[in-house]
Symmetry: C2
Subunit: 220 residues, 2 copies
């Protein structure tokens, strides 16, 4: 659950996320945070014990805002009903749904604050054990979400008849997660990121259609 924060505390939290993502946790001073918020440095201590206390609050904030749906199946039915309406016949239902899920996920990434919080975590993951635990936990939740998605699509008859849809879902989830980090990295440095979006969409086609994974019946 999102915890209550005063306006000033929230301003400190958000400014810290931005500064840590730009300059690194180790290279950002409390003075710089106070300057960004427009308060005196000692005022920070009314809200936080110090930089490490702000870091803890960023971890809480990130965990509470990047929750995947607790009832994925209900969400999948809703998304599927929405995206299949008006999908051209050349696109398989599974591809349409996977594409919709990727777009929904990237939409979250377009939130500069959440994106900066990810950057901060990824930059600290080797230096801070807790940051590593959170990165691994979020990755695991993400992969699990696609495992459930592939099982659900399989039960709905949206996938070709395969024996282990959950394995396919895990592979898809890990690949999308990897692309996602590269996407954040490129955007952060203002490098071209369109190709990464295209690769994600192409993965949705590949996994949703099974086209290239299935032997050509004309040949085999």
């Amino acid at each position: 659950m999102e915890k209550d924060r005063s306006r000033t505390q929230q301003a400190i939290l958000f400014a810290s996320i931005r500064l840590f993502a730009r300059h690194g946790y180790g290279r950002t001073s409390l003075a710089a945070i106070a300057r960004a918020v427009g308060i005196q440095k000692p005022s920070i201590y009314n809200h936080y014990k110090g930089k490490d206390d702000i870091l803890q609050d960023i971890f809480d904030f990130f965990l509470s805002t990047s929750q995947l749906p607790s009832e994925p199946e209900e969400m999948l039915s809703r998304r599927a009903a929405h995206c299949l309406h008006g999908t051209p016949a050349s696109v398989t239902p599974a591809t349409a749904l996977l594409t919709e899920l990727i777009e929904w996920y990237l939409h979250d990434t377009d939130d500069p604050l959440l994106s900066d919080a990810w950057i901060m975590l990824l930059s600290e993951q080797f230096l801070n054990n807790q940051a590593a635990q959170i990165v691994l936990q979020i990755t695991e939740q993400f992969v699990e979400f696609f495992r459930v998605t592939f099982l659900w699509m399989h039960r709905q008859g949206m996938l070709p008849d395969i024996s282990h849809p959950e394995q396919l879902g895990e592979t898809f989830g890990y690949a999308i997660h990897g692309f996602h980090i590269e996407y954040i990295l490129r955007r952060h440095h203002e490098m071209p990121s369109g190709e990464i979006r295209a690769r994600m969409r192409s993965l949705a086609v590949q996994f949703g259609a099974g086209v290239d994974l299935v032997p050509d019946p004309a040949v085999s």
Copy 2:
């Protein structure tokens, strides 16, 4: 090509890689580096202009040591001949080769210095544009290597007849790359990493056998 470094210069380089990976570039001082090498701080200036100059040399070192084979096809033939000798019939040739390539790659990761250089790069990728370029370049080379591998296996008749083996190779490469970073992260924090190795091997089975990607002929 690997450049020549004096013994002391190499000691400074290696100590810096270790310290940057443990404490971060921003939180490591020249004094700490000198202490680790067992020299006086001013002696560092006989070899490097400063911390940023050491960072540049780490980039050079990393790029020169993490080269994938320039003639992958020759290397693939050699590896295939080696690993197919004595492989049980239950394992497809493609799975045997992919497993061998993963083991060979992880063996490199077990080198503490190379692993620390990776950690340093990944920690700095959002703070330093050049670190980001190198991470993207190495990732691209890695994915390209598996694209070539899947094309080669396809030409050798080691894969079921699929129309876009290069796409399958890219997906495999990205997934393995993602697992690899998680593997380094877990080992760095002394968290269990056996499950990640098992997942990589399971990916080699999945992509090398096509078992779960191909419709069950008994059902379809």
